[in-house]
Symmetry: C2
Subunit: 335 residues, 2 copies
């Protein structure tokens, strides 16, 4: 048997932690094999939860931590005074090669600052990028950057294309990575200089890891014609959150339309099965797990407000990234 995959888990971040974290670990454990969890957090809280879930002792180790970073801490103050926290120590276990990847549902800014302080950048990558899964008609997009870098140059965007493709190939090995740059038009002349220069570089220097498909407009993100969408962190953050807000708006309008009369209620009951199918397809827990790319170890951020199912999915992302050799894929394909 191979060595197990070792995942460092910050058990103290996000809502309802550590309960949802431990439950999430159990769900993930049931659906995978040969995983070892290095769990960082308050042992007094965690021990009974793990006993309750019957997680086999050979599959985990608890590292008792006295402190944890709160959502309201600023990234810098968290980094300064956070060395005894569950987040810091779980990242440190990557630095010390005790874990292969880390997941936290805690403070996003703090996670990234502490990760950058403790881990090395991959050689020739200038800036890390925050990436996430975004559904499209045929499967999943990887979109990056989602907020790590407000301003990006063409070198950064080219790096993001490579890293996003490596991530897509790690998660969905059967599929070809197809990269597009998010822009306000599809013609070559559209956009600012950074975007136009990126277009030129990607168009001229082919990369074996992906096919370059040019520009994509916001309304085509979910069409499924491409699956890696590259943009600066400001634009990406606005796009992702706008999509989220639009989805919430529509589903809440739909809900109130369905409930606004007895007829609506009746048919809502009749339609339960199909509505459930619809809801499942749009369930944000399926896409839970933002990935910080560019560091030489995988750092995964779970949504703070997700539940155990969402957290289990971000553990799955971790597992796939390690099995898919994400970091090697990036290193081997840097031009």
């Amino acid at each position: 048997m191979n060595n197990p995959i070792k995942i460092a888990v910050d058990a103290m971040g996000g809502e309802n932690s550590p309960k949802k974290i431990i439950k999430g670990i159990k769900i993930h454990y049931n659906n995978s094999n040969n995983i070892f969890y290095n769990i960082f957090g308050d042992k007094i809280l965690i021990d009974p939860l793990i006993k309750n879930e019957n997680l086999p002792e050979k599959n985990y180790k608890i590292f008792n931590t006295k402190n944890h970073i709160k959502d309201e801490d600023s990234p810098l103050s968290a980094a300064k005074k956070g060395k005894d926290t569950s987040m810091w120590l779980s990242i440190e276990s990557l630095k010390n090669n005790e874990s292969d990847a880390i997941v936290s549902a805690g403070n996003t800014g703090a996670l990234f600052v502490i990760a950058k302080l403790n881990l090395k950048m991959i050689e020739k990558i200038d800036k890390p990028a925050l990436s996430a899964l975004w559904p499209n008609k045929n499967g999943m997009n990887i979109v990056l950057d989602l907020g790590a870098n407000i301003e990006c140059n063409e070198k950064n965007l080219v790096d993001f294309s490579l890293m996003g493709s490596a991530l897509h190939k790690s998660l969905f090995e059967e599929e070809e990575a197809k990269v597009a740059i998010l822009n306000i038009g599809s013609e070559e002349i559209k956009g600012n200089n950074t975007i136009k220069n990126t277009y030129q570089i990607l168009n001229e220097k082919k990369n074996p890891l992906f096919e370059f498909k040019g520009y994509i407009e916001g309304n085509h993100i979910m069409n499924g014609d491409v699956n890696v969408i590259v943009t600066d962190g400001f634009t990406g953050n606005i796009a992702l959150k706008t999509a989220e807000g639009t989805a919430n708006f529509i589903t809440s309008e739909l809900k109130s339309a369905m409930n606004s009369s007895i007829l609506g209620k009746l048919s809502a009951i009749l339609n339960l099965k199909n509505l459930k199918k619809f809801k499942n397809k749009l369930d944000p827990r399926l896409y839970n797990g933002a990935i910080l790319l560019g560091l030489d170890k995988p750092v995964i951020k779970s949504h703070g407000s997700t539940d155990e199912i969402g957290f289990a999915n971000s553990l799955k992302v971790c597992e796939k990234i390690i099995k898919g050799n994400l970091i090697d894929k990036i290193k081997k394909n840097i031009i």
Copy 2:
């Protein structure tokens, strides 16, 4: 009786024109009073359509034009060789004070270039902005810029706040205008320098036309806490189109979920009324009409693919803008 409001209508732009244009005029005519339409286009096509709609002769004049700008024309080539087109001549009728506003469903880029060539900028406004209506939980947002300016400085964003508020007050006179800047976080320190400087200016210099509410993130655009959302043209275009794409994705997923079984079909029939309510609320024809702000006459762009109902709504936007004295509101409140 007051002088009628005179609207210049480019009858040749967009899909199914001039048919949908003339039908749209009739719908608008039926729902308003004291409007005069200056209709620019091919008289041979337009005459029988107008006869068919029984539009009273005292309410319109047809200006026969031999040529029209096509969707595939580049803005610059359209501007160069377009002087005998329905679009150019309808804009020229604003310049000559023969019309109070213009609507076209034609080539967007050409419309803006020709409008800028023929009309003056409002004094002290440096750049025109493209604005549109975007639904929120409580009513309507005005969002700008949506693509006229890829890069904006703080002066531009301050101007957009003023112009967007003037537009909101013209369209929804009962409501207070509440401005927010689109950003990637709600704390004062977030965003790039242009955004932070704009925040400072708007926070310090109160404008009687609107209340400044700080930053807004993409996922809160539709919450209804503010109603004028200011951003540069690149970000605004991406946000609007991403929202559009997300809405299309969800409604098409919903449709296929509703039809995927006999039970689904049955309940879809039962639910027709509520689904219709829902659909109506999200009907893009309701929000049809992008407004180019900053010129000293109102220029309104209808979506090219809308139908007569959508076109009638953009005529309604025209009418409200003129009745609401949009241009005066902007001029009076420039700081």
